[in-house]
């Protein structure tokens, strides 16, 4: 359900504002792999009639690395493009991301990474701004849905002016919060134009060294852009006992606590590298600086340098703000020296309600069978799992799995454990995660005939993020055959209560087989079945 205000003002999630912003700013393609909290960017493009009419690319990619590379290719061809992922997806794409700083861009290129402080739906809370710094790339960090929209125009222009990809860093709270956004007049997409230097993207050492020097030399220009950016501003105020550096959403939490205006100077930072002149000004004018930033203490660490600065710096490192977790208005309030506004405590009777498998989910039937075949017979400690709904099997009543690390790590960790002599060694991975990053690990196993059982739970979708298309749909068997798995040990089955005995038998048989076995429990996700139109 969506509310449209007018043609020029719309109520949009932060993710949707980015999608609409990039469409309006003349993007020709989007590349992404689903991951909370970034998923809704590409989903919005897929629903957008304008995007369809303009022929804007909006298919899902196999993973974040292929997405960033395809985006780089579209930029090479001179067109504006956006790649989107969650923060840990940027780890997967790190190779292409960091090197794209060296190749530079041609058509405007914005890479969006959505961080998840407090780990609402993630394995860690890493801060993507560090990647931007690491790759010497400019970083935009919108503080509102409107800025997120506007920054797509600004980001593409910046990218084309300096021929550099731009990282846009958002966090869960902006991604999944709705607000009114004023739209600009849409721009035409670029036509195909090859880079002026036909060897720009060839990272042979001789060329890379030249490109890297150029990137380093451009940093001073990026810093000057930050000093003059419309998104970084120094807000003058009388009480100089304290100055406040507020980054991205941190700015909102500060302002929330000063409804009548902040008595202290504020430096709002939404564009990096850090604006050195503005920071120096604050350091000269104020006795103390409080840094309010969402995520890790990137700014605070840079302010401190290696030695203590002459002025006091407060933030996440000295405990003024929590070292981890998402910011909120009350945390910032206390850091500003005001009394906590906390309401009543949560009564003891309120119990935690962790997420769980949906009623009727095929994973339930699979894990019941897996427990009987493996845990009951061989004990706990043999099952390496992966990223997806099936990770919920770590919780009671199943307590079936012993690992969940990163996309694809189930197969490769099971391999390493099997190499170490663990028997049985079982991997559990979903169909979409398998095509994201599991195939290469299974190839390692096939080459060595590793003694493992790989269970590829095929529910025909990317379920945890809300049912996006899976590249594996209908292809799991063929992919396994292509990797060299013995067809007799690719065992398809349907996880249903009535098939329990058969499932247990199949798993038992494949545990007994010395070599690579692939078990493929196949049944469509109950959520995606429910969403399908009834007449089909």
């Amino acid at each position: 359900m969506e509310a449209k205000l007018s043609d020029k003002k719309q109520l949009l999630l932060g993710d949707e504002a980015i999608a609409q912003g990039a469409i309006d700013a003349g993007a020709s393609g989007f590349y992404a792999y689903p991951g909370t909290p970034s998923t809704e960017i590409l989903e919005y493009v897929q629903r957008s009639r304008v995007a369809q009419e303009k022929g804007i690319h909006s298919q899902w990619s196999a993973n974040e690395k292929t997405a960033v590379e395809a985006g780089l290719g579209m930029s090479y061809a001179g067109k504006r493009t956006m790649a989107c992922m969650k923060h840990v997806g940027l780890n997967v794409a790190a190779d292409s991301f960091v090197n794209s700083g060296i190749t530079g861009a041609n058509g405007g290129y914005i890479i969006v990474s959505a961080d998840d402080p407090s780990m609402h739906s993630s394995q860690n809370e890493q801060d993507s701004r560090f990647y931007g710094k690491f790759a010497f790339m400019p970083v935009l960090e919108p503080s509102s849905q409107q800025e997120a929209y506007d920054m797509c125009f600004y980001g593409f222009d910046f990218s084309e002016k300096y021929k550099i990809p731009v990282l846009m860093r958002i966090t869960t709270r902006l991604a999944h919060s709705r607000s009114g956004v004023e739209l600009k007049d849409p721009r035409e997409p670029n036509s195909i134009t090859l880079p002026e230097d036909a060897r720009q993207f060839v990272l042979l050492p001789a060329i890379s060294r030249r490109r890297y020097k150029k990137l380093l030399e451009t940093q001073s220009k990026f810093i000057e852009e930050s000093n003059n950016s419309p998104y970084n501003k120094y807000i003058e105020a009388g009480d100089k006992k304290r100055g406040i550096i507020a980054c991205g959403l941190g700015y909102n939490y500060v302002m929330e606590n000063y409804p009548d205006g902040c008595p202290h100077p504020i430096l709002k930072i939404c564009q990096y590298p850090l604006p050195d002149k503005l920071i120096k000004r604050m350091a000269e004018e104020c006795e103390e600086i409080l840094v309010v930033e969402e995520g890790m203490p990137l700014v605070e660490e840079q302010l401190r340098g290696f030695m203590n600065a002459p002025l006091t710096i407060r933030g996440r490192l000295d405990g003024t703000l929590s070292r981890d977790g998402e910011l909120n208005p009350n945390m910032v309030r206390v850091a500003l020296g005001m009394d906590s506004m906390m309401g009543d405590n949560v009564p003891d009777l309120v119990k935690s309600r962790p997420p769980a498998f949906c009623v009727g989910c095929g994973h339930i039937d699979f894990f019941k069978a897996l427990n009987e075949a493996v845990k009951d017979k061989h004990g706990d400690g043999h099952v390496f799992s992966d990223i997806g709904c099936y990770t919920l099997a770590a919780q009671p009543p199943f307590e079936s799995i012993n690992s969940c690390v990163d996309m694809g790590a189930s197969i490769t960790m099971a391999k390493g454990a099997a190499d170490a002599g663990l028997f049985p060694s079982i991997a559990v991975i979903g169909d979409s995660t398998f095509t994201h990053s599991g195939i290469t690990g299974l190839l390692d196993c096939a080459i060595e005939s590793t003694n493992i059982v790989v269970c590829i739970l095929d529910n025909s979708t990317t379920a945890m993020t809300g049912g996006q298309n899976s590249h594996a749909s209908g292809r799991v068997r063929d992919i396994c055959l292509g990797l060299g798995i013995n067809p007799e040990h690719i065992r398809e089955c349907v996880p249903l209560p009535k098939n329990h005995e058969e499932l247990v038998k199949i798993i038992n048989e494949e545990v007994a087989y010395e070599g690579v076995s692939v078990v493929v429990p196949t049944r469509e996700c109950v959520q995606t079945i429910g969403k399908k139109p009834k007449k089909q």
Partner: protein
Amino acid sequence: MKKDIILAGVGGQGILSIATIIGHVAVKKNLHLKQAEVHGMSQRGGDVQSHLRISDKPIFSDLVPHGGADIILSVEPMESLRYLPWLKKEGWVITNTSPYINITNYPEMDVILGELKKRKNHIAIPAEDLAAEAGTKRAMNIVMLGAAAQFLGIDFAELEDGIRAVFGRKGDKIVDVNLKALRAGRDFTDKATA
């Protein structure tokens, strides 16, 4: 005018539809609005909440500050108590009384209601029954919206228009059932606070 509302429930119970209708009305009135939602893992039967802020002045934070909410509007009784740290001293807890039990240690209902009654400003409403009377149990969330109506700072007729706008595409029958549900919720609260 400024209202901070915490919408609470369990993943899949439809709290976002409530947010959509209030949001629609708020923006029609040219009010500022921010609405933070929960997507991802918790939607699989976990506890979910949405922070909904409407104001005639610009809003900074996407999150309602602790101790700042005017209303907790919950479609599930235990969940209504999870967000007390966000509620103002005189704020209202408005909750559906039908429990959603998907955990083994779910507390007894009279314990939950006892805790709820400790608060001066609370409304406990059998919204599922009222929705069924209106035509479908699925309109439970709209009954809850009606129950909160007098605290929202929005005219009831505007909420009715919001229902027509949001459900209009699904046909007159659906609109009528939801309007009935909305009024049933309003009438319950009118009696409870009379």
